[in-house]
């Protein structure tokens, strides 16, 4: 493997929000988990009415290990024209989450749109949200082991193969191994039996 292809990810002390001041795509705030709700409440009071997205990043080897990223937009909550909206304020809030017992307070009560986004982070990163009304897996099947978007989740190899795959057992309509039932299945079975009973042309039936 050429040196440039080696993933020099683990252990890097990366805080990407601080290294590129030239990319002025939003106002950026970094807060501690304890101050997160207060900061978001303040921003909401300042007019950031739309929570566009909640995402997460796993900086394996860094402490705090995860960043949960909130993207906000300030839009007037009433009918308004393009000129009234102008260039709305974009805000990005990053909260570091430790590797041990990763947990953040939910913002579902402030913006109902956060519901599925927080469930997705819980599902794919294993970060819990305290006070979430319905915290369960959303993309992966119930009973899946591990959190696929973590950097230490195996892509392939023995560890990946050892992960049980209940994907179709849990989300499909029929439990695995159930024989087909009903009139259609009976007719099908009959047809198969008939076909098996007929010998191909030119061969002796044994």
């Amino acid at each position: 493997m050429p040196s440039s292809q080696a993933p020099s990810i683990a252990g890097s002390a990366l805080d990407p929000s601080a290294v590129r001041p030239d990319i002025a795509d939003a106002e950026i705030f970094r807060v501690a988990p304890a101050e997160l709700r207060a900061k978001l409440l303040l921003l909401r009071a300042e007019g950031c009415s739309l929570l566009l997205d909640v995402g997460a990043v796993d900086y394996l080897g860094r402490e705090p290990r995860y960043d949960v990223v909130y993207h906000l937009l300030a839009l007037p909550a009433k009918p308004s024209s393009v000129a009234e909206i102008g260039v709305p304020r974009r805000v990005r809030v990053l909260a570091g989450v430790p590797a041990e017992a990763p947990m953040l307070p939910t913002v579902c009560d402030l913006w109902p749109s956060a519901n599925w986004a927080e469930r997705e982070i819980y599902d794919l990163f294993g970060i819990s949200f305290e006070g979430h009304p319905d915290l369960r897996r959303i993309q992966m099947p119930e009973g899946w082991e591990g959190h696929p978007l973590r950097k230490d989740y195996p892509l392939r190899g023995p560890a990946r193969e050892a992960t049980p795959r209940p994907a179709f057992a849990s989300k499909s309509n029929v439990p695995a191994g159930t024989p087909p039932a009903g009139k259609v299945a009976a007719a099908l079975q009959k047809q198969i039996a008939r076909a098996r009973g007929q010998a191909p042309n030119g061969t002796e039936k044994t």
């Binding site: 050429p2 440039s4 292809q5 020099s8 990810i9 890097s12 990366l14 990407p16 929000s17 290294v19 590129r20 030239d22 990319i23 795509d25 939003a26 009415s49 739309l50 929570l51 566009l52 997205d53 995402g55 997460a56 990043v57 796993d58 990223v69 993207h71 937009l73 839009l75 909550a77 009433k78 009918p79 308004s80 024209s81 393009v82 009234e84 909206i85 102008g86 260039v87 709305p88 974009r90 990005r92 913006w111 109902p112 749109s113 519901n115 599925w116 369960r136 959303i138 993309q139 099947p141 119930e142 696929p148 978007l149 892509l155 849990s170 989300k171 499909s172 309509n173 029929v174 439990p175």
Partner: protein, 410 residues
Amino acid sequence: MSVTPEAVARATTLDVVEVKGNAMTLSMGPQHPSTHGVLQVVVEVSGEIVEKAEMEIGYLHTGIEKTAENLFWTQAGTVIERMDYLNPLGNELTYTLAVEKLLGVSDRIPERAQSIRVLVTELTRIASHCVWLGTGGIDLGAISTFFYTFDIREDILDLLEQSGGARMHPHYIRIGGVNGDVPAGFLGRLDALIAKFPQRMRELRALLQNNPILRDRMIDVGIVSPADALAWGLTGPSLRASGIAYDVRKAFPYSGYEKYAFDVPVRDDGDAYARFLVRLDEMEEAMRIVGQVRKELDTSGPIMIDDPKIAQPPKEAIALSMEALIHHFKIVSESFRVPPGDVYVATESPRGELAYYLVSNGNNRPYRVRTRPPSMYNLQALKHMVPGNLIADMVVMIGSLDPVFGEVDR
């Protein structure tokens, strides 16, 4: 019987999960034609009235974000365009703009490349709305609409095939520009499409807009107030049908959208009919932009950034120049490194604000690719819209939100 996760998982389309007096819990989907893909809605109904709707998604989860993290910057676009399969070029464009911003080359993209990008994404927007209108028409019993809209869509897909080499996922927009100029004969066919489009739209409007059945099915169905629209994270046509004229192309112009004259259609009613009208108007506005871009394409110019570290050299140069061969080899075999940093870049997809939050750690693969999927947030609002309405109206509401499950589940 009781509503356990196992009972929900076992349920097939229109299976009864639970009966309690007059109330009944039904499972609709994930293989129901009106759910526009693989959506399962578990509805508590009392007679025909839905009292509560809970959506189950994830049936189409393919781990695209994880896959993209393990591809080169140049390769990740191929899986990313497969998220929203009705808007592949919009996905490519958003990702490409984000990578270019991280590279710091946004202002060096040739003008002709930007024009072609706008052209193909606006054509894709029309094609996407054609699918929405066709399938939405089927939801409402107007089956012939499907054939009219897919006729327009075929013309557009033919054009995209001619320019990019594939109908659905051409990976035509590349980091630094576009993959090849528009071929000979493209502009003639584009002119023919521009010429016949107004007549096609008149036909569609005559067929649909004042159709009493469609009006009855859509007016006052699924009303979303402006405050609720923001609280539930609606964007795109669904937000603009609630009166808020937020369009990324106007608020944060990219790829030269500030040059083009176009209006942002807005309606105040917030119901399914308003969303329907906004999308119809958007198709015409998109064609207005296409007409303006068409005029810019008469003169020729470069279509790729002049930077051998980012752009693949032309085939002729590889045969003659050693440097070109080396650059070609390096880009193909190990891509390029992108300076560390994070960036959030949004564009206006046919469904709303589509954005990528990219993190680079200075390597030749993205460290994190987070999508802001407009369909997912729009669809989530269904939980708020449905209670108290007829089960048949829920079908109209799903259609009016225009979800694409490749993007919801990724």
